[in-house]
Every structure is written in structure tokens, then in C-alpha cells.
């Protein structure tokens, strides 16, 4: 971490923030310290982890109880030194979760809002240039309610970036967008930052965004940073297998990691050299040994080959046995490995399931639970 700071001293943001909220019985304390160089740094964590509070402290909208915030050598806040720059003078670009576009102003007026110190002509020129680079040049005269969600996100980004900020704070800016729109906007953002090279703090609680965007991730939980590193490093480690956990899985197999798809947040795992499953990504290397647990009730069973599925794993097999246990039917299926599948009585009857029949097992990626090999 330290060495990275030295090379990008000029523009990295360093923050150490303590903020306590006492609210009756509920109290929350944010206590974090980190350094983020130029480029995208993901702040990942569940809602209520303190991500937005942290951004508000950096922007100057919330005053920390203690700490120090600086961009390069420029101090924004220093409790000990008695420095607390006004929001207006921090040069922070902030895209809020709900965007906070001014509803009574046009797209052009929204984007030009932060350029009030420039002359009218220069303001129009800069506004036009950034609208163009975010591909919303033709929307200048419209009001925020008259454009689509993706276009509004672009306007909010352009409005924050046109002021040439020293740090960009993005609070779940793309959460409401579909994947295609999202990746196009991220592409434009990366393009912009290739030229400007400022730190971008990107808040999200979505695993997919972490893997799609991040070179660096800070994982925030309950007001503390619990992990930092690349997405691969910080995402969940395989769980320690305990007797209690084992009891929850009817199917537990030894597996070997065949491939890691960090961009998609998944891995391929081979079981006994016979079956390959797509599983969620955990901290592991290619070739490392894990165990995969799958609940019998999480597996779908089809008697004809299903098509057009979102589930990533489709495994052919043969029914070995079908037995009734109270009101549950337990089928054992041989796919090279023997897998237990549970279903209702009605499901068995409508499928007309019997031993020897050919079936397909459908298993969602996230139904595969990875555990450490014992």
C-alpha cells in the first residue's frame, strides 16, 4: 500500500475518518483509514456499513469527529490542525445515489451549474464539450424528467466532472441501470479519467460491480474496513467446513479449481474429473482443492434437456433410485458422481420419474457453496 502512495503522491486521497452517531439505543461508529490512488477504488459493503457517511465526510457535508482528509498535499480536513475546508472549496465531484439533478434546470444548465465563475461563452464551450464526451449533446435543452435513467446518470456524471474535481465520489451511481448501459457509462468514465487521473471512490453493494470495475476494493462492514485489495483478494474466502455446515448439504464433493473468471466473479471447478461446475468466486488459485456443497433441494431436475436457462450448470445423468421420505421424494442421480435431488410428490408424479430414466440436473452458480478441503 505505502509504495503505491509514493508513486502517485500527487493525486491520491488519504483519509482517516472517525464519526459517531448516537441515536438512543442505536449507535453507529465509522472508523476508517485508507489511501486511494488515481483510478477506481470500490467501497463495497452492505447498506448501513457507513459508505455514504464516509463520502459525506470527504465532501464536507458531514463533519468527522476526528481524523484527517487530504488529496495530494492539499488538506481538506484536519481535526488536530483545526482545518475544515468549506464544501464549496473542496473541489470534490459527488454523484449522489438519487443523482440530485436540479429538476427546474435543463440538462445544459445542470451541467454548467458548477461553472458560474466562467464567462458565458467559456461556460457554454466547456459544457458542450463534456456533454459531447458523455454522448448526451443532443439533450441540452431537456429537463431531467424528460430523459431516461441512463441519460440522467450521464448528466449527473458530466455535471460533477465538468468542474475538474480533485476526487470523484460515486454513491451507487449505476445501481438502477441494466448491465449494457452500465458498462457503456463505465467505459466513458474510464476514458475521461485516463486523461485526468483522479481518485474515484465508487460505492456499491453489488458483487457483480466489484468484479466488473475494481482494481482496488475496500470492504466496509459496520463502520470498519475489514479487507482491502483486488476484488479477487478481498472477496469471500472459502468457508471453514464444520460438522454443522456439512449437515446442511446432502451433496458434498471434493473439487479442484480449473479456471478463475475474475471479471465475472465465478470459477470453474472439476469434480472427480467427470463433472465441471460454475461456482461463485472465492479466494483460491487454479489447481487448489476445495469442497463443493449443494443442497438437494436447490437442484432442479428435468426429463428433457432444458433450454434458455439462466442457471449456468446443466449436468446430464441417469436416475439410480427414487424413494419417498415422508412428503419428500429423494432421487439419486448418477452423473459420474452420485447426486441427491429432492422434490415434492407432485413433481415426481408429473415427471413420471423412475430408476433408469435419463434426466438433466440444473444447478445455479450460487447454489454451489465452497468450503475449505479438510
Amino acid at each position: 500500500m505505502e509504495s503505491a502512495v509514493v508513486t502517485r503522491e500527487g493525486c491520491s486521497i488519504s483519509a482517516r475518518v472517525c464519526k459517531r452517531f448516537a441515536n438512543g439505543a442505536q449507535s453507529f461508529e465509522l472508523d476508517v483509514g485508507f489511501i486511494a490512488p488515481a483510478g477506481i477504488t470500490i467501497l463495497f459493503g452492505p447498506s448501513g456499513a457507513g459508505k455514504t457517511t464516509l463520502l459525506d465526510c470527504i465532501a464536507g457535508l458531514t463533519r468527522p469527529d476526528a481524523g484527517k482528509i487530504a488529496i495530494g498535499g492539499r488538506v481538506l480536513f484536519d481535526q488536530v490542525g483545526g482545518i475544515a475546508l468549506a464544501v464549496q472549496r473542496r473541489r470534490v465531484g459527488y454523484v449522489f445515489q438519487d443523482l440530485a439533478l436540479f429538476p427546474h434546470l435543463s440538462v445544459e444548465e445542470n451541467v454548467g451549474y458548477g461553472l458560474s465563475e466562467l464567462t458565458g461563452m467559456e461556460r457554454r464551450r466547456r459544457t458542450a464539450a463534456i456533454l459531447d464526451s458523455f454522448r448526451i449533446a443532443d439533450l441540452g435543452g431537456r429537463k431531467p424528467v424528460e430523459i431516461s435513467g441512463g441519460q440522467r446518470q450521464r448528466v449527473a456524471l458530466a455535471r460533477a466532472l465538468v468542474t475538474d474535481p480533485r476526487v470523484l465520489l460515486l454513491d451507487e451511481p449505476l445501481a438502477a441501470l441494466d448491465a449494457a448501459t452500465k458498462s457503456k457509462i463505465v467505459e466513458d468514465l474510464r476514458g475521461w479519467n485516463a486523461a485526468h487521473g483522479i481518485p474515484i471512490l465508487y460505492v456499491t453493494h453489488s458483487r457483480e460491480e466489484v468484479f466488473a470495475l475494481g482494481e482496488r476494493v475496500l470492504v466496509l462492514e459496520n463502520g470498519r474496513i475489514i479487507a482491502m485489495g483486488t476484488p479477487h483478494q478481498v472477496m469471500s474466502a472459502p468457508r471453514q467446513e464444520t460438522v454443522a455446515q456439512l449437515a446442511g448439504f446432502e451433496n458434498v464433493f471434493d473439487a479442484v479449481v480449473l479456471a478463475i473468471h475474475e471479471d465475472r466473479g465465478t470459477m470453474s471447478c472439476g469434480i472427480a474429473g467427470k463433472v465441471e461446475l460454475e461456482t461463485p468466486l472465492v479466494r483460491a488459485e487454479v489447481g487448489s482443492k476445495l469442497r463443493v456443497g449443494i443442497r438437494a433441494g436447490d437442484i432442479l431436475l428435468a426429463t428433457v434437456r432444458p433450454q434458455g436457462l439462466s442457471a449456468r450448470n446443466l449436468v446430464p445423468g441417469k436416475v439410480v433410485s427414487v424413494a419417498q421420505r415422508d412428503v419428500i421424494v429423494v432421487a439419486r442421480v448418477d452423473c459420474g458422481i452420485e447426486v441427491e435431488v429432492q422434490m415434492t410428490l407432485a413433481a415426481r408424479d408429473s415427471l413420471q420419474l423412475r430408476a433408469g430414466g435419463e434426466v438433466w440436473l440444473v444447478i445455479k452458480t450460487h447454489s454451489c457453496h465452497l468450503m475449505e478441503a479438510s
Binding site: Y94, F96, F102, S116, T163
Partner: protein
């Protein structure tokens, strides 16, 4: 009908509404955004004219304007005459009397502006003043109109304060409501009725306007 009284009342109401439209803004801003611990005291003072009998308010305004109070003495030293029983005194009394009717709708509409919009304005480098004029004020237009119209209408029909502060001087302090009272006192019910009807109609129309605005009928009417 006493058109002189109508004209005087109209001048008074317009003047008071205009003054409050300007002077009410900083008061309302402060009430909406101040985090001062004792703010509630100031809020109570501003709201006092709503509950106070107008005669009580008028009585103290009269004392304050009179030559025995420091304010009255100061004014007399400055201009050579007292404000009591003048149109100017009437304006001052009416401004205090109608203050909550302007300030409260203003403050409510300021407070209703999304805090994130104000935060966005500030992160974009806009000063408090610029944020107020470019974001808060434009988004508070219905509340501003309500406040101005209400203070206008409230001044239009006031009686107690006017009687205490201004007395009943034709062309100087005799407003419509005092005129009506005079006519009833002299048992000229027909004339009182005519004047009262006009006042009733105006008040009703003004309130219709306020409620129409609040239901955003205004937006439909102006085609926006």
C-alpha cells in the same frame, strides 16, 4: 360605497405583502435551516400574531410607536412626527400582524426542498446565497406565492390592529373593515352589507387562488 377606504386598504395590503415577500425570506430561511438550540423561541415569537388578540398586538404596537417609547422617540427625533395614527404606523403594525402568514409558508417550502439538491449545489462550488437563489427559491415558488397571497388577504381584512394603531381617519387610516364597523354603528346596514360583500368576494377569490396554486392547478392554467 366608500371607495377611498377600498383604495387605502388595497394600498396597505399590497405594500405589506411586498415588504413581507422580501423581509420574510431571510427570516424563513433562518427558521428552516438554523440549528440554533433556542430557535423554537424565535419560531414562537413569529407565530405569536396568529394566536394573540389583534387588540393586544395593536395596543403594544401603539405604545411602541408612541412618543413615550424609545422607538417612538427615536422616530420623532428623526422625522419630527409620531407614527401613531398615520398610514406608516398602520403599515408597521400590519407587517408584524401578517408576518407568520408569509414566513410560515415560506419556511415550510424551503424545508421541503430536497437536502441532497442543496448538498449538490454546494459541492459544485455554489455559495449559500447562490444556492438559495438558484435552487431553493425556484423550487419554493408555490410556497412563496401562498405566503404573499395570504399576507395580502390577511392585511385586507384586519380590524383590531388598525383600530388600535391607526384609529379611524378617513383617507389616512380608515380601512374597509373599519368603514363597515362605522356603518353598522350608524345603523346603515345596506351600505355595510354592500362593502362587506365586496370584501367577502375578494377574500374568497384570494383563497381560491391559494388553494388552486397548492393543488398545482396553476401549472395547468399557465400550461406548464
Amino acid at each position: 360605497m366608500d371607495w377611498q377606504a377600498f383604495w387605502l386598504t388595497l394600498r396597505l395590503a399590497v405594500l405589506v405583502a411586498l415588504v413581507l415577500a422580501v423581509a420574510g425570506l431571510p427570516v424563513a430561511y433562518w427558521i428552516s435551516f438554523s440549528r440554533w438550540r433556542w430557535k423554537f423561541v424565535a419560531e414562537a415569537v413569529v407565530a405569536l400574531p396568529i394566536v394573540l388578540p389583534p387588540t393586544v398586538l395593536g395596543f403594544y404596537v401603539l405604545l411602541a410607536l408612541g412618543p413615550r417609547s424609545p422607538v417612538g422617540r427615536f422616530w420623532q427625533g428623526l422625522t419630527g412626527h409620531t407614527l401613531a395614527f398615520t398610514f406608516g404606523g398602520l403599515v408597521i403594525g400590519s407587517i408584524i400582524y401578517s408576518l407568520p402568514f408569509a414566513v410560515q409558508p415560506f419556511a415550510a417550502s424551503f424545508a421541503a426542498v430536497d437536502g441532497r439538491l442543496i448538498a449538490a449545489s454546494e459541492t459544485l462550488g455554489a455559495s449559500r446565497l447562490r444556492t438559495f437563489f438558484r435552487v431553493i427559491l425556484p423550487l419554493s415558488v408555490p410556497g412563496l406565492v401562498t405566503g404573499v397571497v395570504l399576507s395580502f388577504a390577511h392585511t385586507l381584512g384586519e380590524f383590531g390592529v388598525v383600530l388600535m394603531v391607526g384609529g379611524d381617519i378617513p383617507g389616512v387610516t380608515r380601512t374597509v373593515s373599519i368603514d363597515i364597523y362605522d356603518k353598522v354603528q350608524s345603523v346603515d346596514y345596506a351600505a355595510a352589507n354592500a362593502t362587506a360583500l365586496v370584501l367577502l368576494a375578494i377574500s374568497f377569490l384570494v383563497l381560491c387562488l391559494v388553494y388552486a396554486l397548492n393543488r398545482r392547478v396553476w401549472a395547468i392554467l399557465t400550461g406548464k
